[in-house]
Symmetry: C2
Subunit: 391 residues, 2 copies
Amino acid sequence: MSMRSPADIDRLDAEDPLRQARAAFALPDGVIYLDGNSLGPPTKKALTRLRATAEQEWGEGLIRSWNDAGWFDLPQTCGAKIARLIGVDPGDVLVCDSVSVNLFKLAAALKNATPGARLVIDRAEFPTDVYMIESLAALLGPGDGPPILIKSAIDFRTAAIADIDRIEGRTRAQGGVVVWDLSHAAGLLDLRLKARGARCAVGCGYKFLNGGPGAPAFVYVERALADTLRQPLAGWMGHARPFDFRPDYAPAPGVRRFAAGTPQILSLAALDAALDAFDGASMPDVETKARRLGDLFLEGVAALGLPCLSPPSASRGGHVSLSHPQGYSVMQALIARGVIGDFRPPDLMRFGFSPLFLRYADAARAASILEDVLRSEQWRAPHFADRRTVT
Amino acid sequence: MSMRSPADIDRLDAEDPLRQARAAFALPDGVIYLDGNSLGPPTKKALTRLRATAEQEWGEGLIRSWNDAGWFDLPQTCGAKIARLIGVDPGDVLVCDSVSVNLFKLAAALKNATPGARLVIDRAEFPTDVYMIESLAALLGPGDGPPILIKSAIDFRTAAIADIDRIEGRTRAQGGVVVWDLSHAAGLLDLRLKARGARCAVGCGYKFLNGGPGAPAFVYVERALADTLRQPLAGWMGHARPFDFRPDYAPAPGVRRFAAGTPQILSLAALDAALDAFDGASMPDVETKARRLGDLFLEGVAALGLPCLSPPSASRGGHVSLSHPQGYSVMQALIARGVIGDFRPPDLMRFGFSPLFLRYADAARAASILEDVLRSEQWRAPHFADRRTVT
């Protein structure tokens, strides 16, 4: 049970500078959705836009919509919206492909530019980043020169925030470059990447950006750096003049050269519309609210004594991770009660606090339901048992 | 003017074994759409499915839909539908990424498996294929061993059909392998790839498969070959057990190892639904009708004396290419009259004949409108002038 009174919670919501953002979302009744760190929910505008893109632009405009509906420019117009959220120049972000593919392109381009450079990634990083970089190292050789460091701005397990300034400074001092993975940070932290000297990053469209299931990812490369890079997935959409159909590749200026094949317009349109939910939201407010929501939740479950793997709020991102030996079953029981978080092996329950659509009352209520599920041992019901295949 | 009488045309439509397929499509009034070879139109089912995927699966099911709505399996369930159309085993096709990215993965995997192998592509191939393969050769070295030949089954300019049997036989005799690019052939030709010994291919989802703008692409690799390959974009979705979150990459069995990042579900769902328009259609009928539509159109415009770059129908795919020095303006005038084809520099007008939604009457009427546009010189109107930037 939270130590705050209902009146305290109501006051937090009433004074929340982001209190109007929730109205933009299409949320189901009876659900407290604490998994926006894994898949953000749809905004009403994204659903409307998707219908218009499919029914009018595709159905009526047909091939003409590549020009008339701005499909060709969408990877960049959508990128400019993300650029504001992460604090970089609007022309320096391109929306395309997946985080995995973008990481490969960017790390390969950096390595090509500095042949002896050394690819560096911690094996505790998000697995797909580890796989992609190890595969790239196998292809190009590991190198022993200046580092190309791949680093998540927020850890996917604990939500610990990396010390961007320190890591940038140390890596630059070694003549290296950091590729930031912003998957759990974009749309959540006040990143101010350009001001902090960060020159390139990749990130995910479907978590705090709410772009839809498997939404296209993004890549940020500072213009001056981008113009020196050649990425290996040199597809026609990254060509300076794709519709000249010439056999010689000429990379487009800046980050646009990181495009490869034709963008998946339906998914891209949904992301583009979803980003408008950030209109009028200041990123410092977003970051602060995520912390306070997490703190309120942790305060409410403190008496349960569950080990918390997440750091204190000053260095914590948008979720909190609690461990419980039967975490899988506990999470199933919570979901049955309308509190949706997720489970990561071996024993982590993750609760995400998306500041745009969650209220302080939601965080307090979720804590109270978790307390009830544990005290009543509801999670022991046979239908919540962990039947995942052991491999 | 066609030499056939209106009654002849009506009889062709009445006797068309595919005549009922048109009803599955949502086509705008007043348009004869001859650009399904570039972007297929939506089916009614694809539009309905897209709404359900967005509003119910994403909006109501949220994160749970990855399991409950079958999102995880969609790259394979959708791939199985394409497998039938191209004549391979249902488990051997995966829908993912773009043609460009899939070509890179597949060619790189083949080259890794045979280090000295020689990447071979004609510079007249579709430009993105040329760019990707030249980029890959720059990364891995060109090689001088057995060929890895990248070859379009249908040429994007002329629609000439490649001699699959001869090219397969010749390449196999050299110890090599052909990577077929089926972009203009899938959903059009009766390919029967497995029976003809073809072991791998990539292809496009948004042309004759009608999957939507920038729809995800596909990759086919015969199971026995796939199990010997490691592709470099080793993302988590190609891992044997992605949700174990282990730092060591273990490729999934078969073609599933060609997955990289998270699939763009909205675009993928539209493609999956669109493929059902092929239910009940036999591929020999589809191929035959495309030819007859093209022949009828060419018959109708024969008197205009426009040079035709496409071969006779026995070796021609789904479009015909006519050249005209002012082809750009002529195409603009045609579009203004409701006949939508496309233009490819320097002087090619392409007219695509998608057999599922076009009637013989459409092909005849399009020919008659082209004749009128040329005889009346409507294309000389200033607003049809070619204002594309010369680069």
